[in-house]
């Protein structure tokens, strides 16, 4: 009775739709993961509060839409500089003090920040599920037997643009090169006259700006609530490890792989299996390619 076993026109449509869903879902995951991989790769800090900045981005979209009727796509222009500032402030107030501390201290700090932000949101805005319903959410584009949700398509396109932009920034600009140098060896970079504190500040701010933008874009697709970030954050760690720490293109491809595993696994074996599959993949990658599928061998220990 497994529907995947019967082949017919309906089946081919279903497979095509699964492909579409994979790409669109992968786009969302990539959007969330690029900021994380940047911070992870350059600062060597696992930001456990990443999901909470996503949640704050979602609330920004929700309140702007509810109070002033502003479409989330316009809010994006406000969100990016705003979250850049939030990133700077968070770095100065919280991260700067623990950047040279042990990983345990960093984990406790960012985890504490995560709990703090969740509860600030809970106290300020209550635990209700809230929804943003711009007009484009109910627009479904039909191509052949497949359906594309317009909001999801836009989120996907922006995530690709963002990833490519960050990739180019890291690869071709002087600041990008300085950031990569710091990632490779903090002490050597300092000896070469690089202000590593400035690099970290910038990295953290860019990472938070990216995830803030992601929050604004996913707000229409999911409900907005204080622990909304947890829905995606575990998965972004998988994506980041799959793609290789600090690798933008790897994050995009890792996202597509996770989405494919999730979508195909849910369809063929049942929806309860999806996490088993991608965490299995996660473990296999850690065992056989600890630097990630596309990462440079040994890069996981760089700068440690």
């Amino acid at each position: 009775m497994d529907p995947a076993r019967r082949l017919g026109p309906a089946q081919i449509d279903a497979v095509a739709q699964l492909g579409v869903s994979t790409v669109l879902l992968g786009g969302i995951y990539a959007l969330i993961a690029v900021g994380l991989t940047l911070i992870f790769g350059i600062m060597r800090v696992v930001n456990f509060a990443h999901g909470e900045f996503l949640m704050l981005g979602m609330y920004l979209a929700f309140w702007s839409f509810t109070l002033w009727g502003v479409d989330p796509y316009f809010i994006l222009f406000v969100a990016i500089p705003l979250f850049f500032m939030v990133g700077l402030v968070t770095y100065v107030l919280v991260m700067k003090g623990v950047i040279t501390a042990s990983h345990n201290v960093q984990i406790f700090t960012t985890f504490g920040l995560s709990i703090l932000l969740q509860n600030v949101a809970l106290v300020s805005w209550s635990g209700d599920f809230r929804f943003v319903r711009p007009w484009h959410l109910s627009v479904a584009l039909r191509v052949g037997g497949t359906t594309f949700n317009l909001s999801q398509v836009v989120a996907f396109v922006i995530s690709v643009v963002l990833t490519v932009a960050l990739f180019a920034f890291m690869k071709f600009t002087h600041t990008g090169r300085v950031m990569r140098a710091t990632a490779q060896d903090r002490d050597a970079a300092t000896l070469m006259g690089i202000d590593t504190d400035r690099v970290y500040r910038l990295t953290f701010a860019i990472g938070i700006a990216a995830v803030g933008a992601a929050g604004v874009l996913v707000a229409p697709l999911y409900s907005v609530y204080p622990t909304a970030g947890l829905q995606f954050v575990l998965l972004s760690y998988v994506v980041v490890v799959l793609g290789g720490l600090g690798d933008m293109a790897g994050a995009l491809i890792g996202s597509l792989i996770v989405a494919a595993v999730e979508v195909a696994g849910s369809y063929v074996f049942g929806i309860a299996w999806k996490e088993i599959f991608y965490f299995l993949l996660f473990i296999l990658v850690l065992v056989f390619r600890p630097a990630g599928l596309f990462g440079q061998r040994g890069s996981e220990t760089l700068g440690a």
Partner: protein, 420 residues
């Protein structure tokens, strides 16, 4: 002379009036209240607390409990571990003899275990884990039916109301089960599966579980179910998952005859209507009574207290009672009835009072009756439940028909754009 008498008379009247309202309450009675007030379960926990506070005030306006003013000792149960330690604190530090709580099936097991160990009464208003009353704990009671009761009512509705309106016999119904994987979702789904199959011979096409906190795309399951072509989708959702399933079913043009849910979360929460507006039309959710509910169908004492409860909720929140209010508040009201009857919180005498309480359907808030089993569970058939349907952004009561003025529409559900 007459003019000078007027203020005097008014003063006497005012004094009399205030005297009848605030009966003299001698002392306070402190009740332990355990609800999740922060963390992921807080959104419902706070609503429960609101329901408890509303009925606490009603109780104090009506003579308190055992002649004393009812007060709360609050505790925040964010997860099972905290629930247990906070129950402990309420008992040892606050000295409470009765704890009321905790809404979530994740919490009630751990908290009640602690209470029972201290020989303290644990009064559950909302958690529906079927295991709750099956652990041999002597001081544990529950006013709401358990998850198996929800499954029982859902299948009753499908077999007795929907099947005839589809011109199908119950054994011709093809049904797909989908559920979030909490003990609540599983309890409802498994009991519904069992009853659908054994009692009515319905054809089960699928039974799928998922974790609502990590589900980001329902398209794969929508596609899978679409190919199986069920008449009924029995979906227990929690929050975002319900909205996602419904929106993506529309995107994929997945057509079926009805969707049936149970409980105040997911499709049964007001958030679902807010998220989807009129696109929500047609969904069924088993709940406490909503708009359309006929007060006249209740017994006179039930009518009176239900009307007063609604007015109190309206005054505090500006809306009709929501699911959380309707579980917590009426549960507390039944506790008051028991305490007044027992006159003490001594567990043995309290137990005798619980067992002797026998109220038919329609006697209390929500049209509930009371008859506890030996295990401390209020009976399925006394705790009357109702099927509500989303109609133009409102959940209205549609079944059983003798209790309501509204009628179920869109049977079977037509094309997605025809449900206006």
């Amino acid at each position: 002379m007459r003019h000078r008498a007027i203020p005097f008379v008014a003063l006497i009247v005012a004094l009399l009036a205030s005297g009848t309202h605030a009966q003299s309450l001698s002392g306070e009675y402190k009740l332990g209240v355990l609800e999740p007030l922060t963390g992921p379960l807080a959104f419902e926990g706070k609503r429960h607390l609101e329901g408890l506070e509303i009925v606490r005030d009603m109780i104090n306006e009506r003579g308190g409990v055992m002649g004393k003013k009812l007060t709360f000792a609050l505790a925040d149960a964010t997860d099972p571990t905290v629930a247990a330690s906070e129950a402990n604190r309420l008992i040892t530090r606050e000295g409470v003899k009765i704890i009321i709580g905790t809404f979530s099936s994740r919490l009630c097991g751990a908290a009640s275990e602690v209470a029972a160990r201290h020989n303290v009464i644990y009064w559950e208003t909302s958690c529906v884990d079927p295991r709750f009353n099956k652990r041999g704990l002597k001081t544990v009671y529950r006013t709401e039916i358990d998850a198996t009761g929800f499954g029982w009512y859902n299948v009753e509705f499908i077999a007795k109301h929907l099947a005839p309106r589809f011109n199908l016999k119950p054994n011709q119904i093809k049904i797909a089960f989908l559920s979030e994987d909490s003990s609540y979702g599983q309890g409802v789904t498994e009991s519904a599966r069992l009853r659908a199959k054994q009692e009515f011979g319905m054809q089960e096409l699928a039974a799928e579980y998922y974790n609502w906190t990590t589900i980001n795309d329902m398209t794969p399951i929508v596609l899978k179910l679409k190919q199986l072509n069920p008449d009924i989708v029995h979906h227990i959702g929690f929050g975002n998952d319900a909205v996602l399933f419904w929106r993506q079913s529309k995107e994929q043009n997945f057509l079926f005859k009805a969707l049936v849910h149970a409980g105040a979360t997911g499709y049964g929460g007001s958030d679902f209507g807010k998220a989807l507006g009129n696109d929500a039309n047609g969904v069924f959710a088993l709940l406490e009574p909503g708009p359309g509910f006929r007060l006249e169908a209740l017994k006179p004492e039930g009518q009176k207290i239900e009307r007063e409860f609604r007015e109190a909720v309206q005054k505090r929140t500006g809306s009709y009672p929501l699911g959380g209010h309707q579980l917590a508040g009426p549960g507390l009201w039944i506790l008051k009835l028991v305490l007044d009857r027992a006159g003490t919180d001594d567990p043995d005498k309290f137990n005798a009072a619980v067992m002797s309480l026998d109220l038919p359907v329609g006697s209390s808030m929500n049209g509930w009756g009371v008859k506890f089993s030996e295990t401390g569970q209020n009976a399925n058939e006394r705790v009357q439940h109702y099927m509500l349907q989303w109609q133009n952004s409102q959940l209205v009561t549609v079944w059983p028909e003798e209790f309501t003025t509204a009628r179920a529409k869109w049977i079977p559900l037509g094309a997605w754009d025809q449900r206006k």
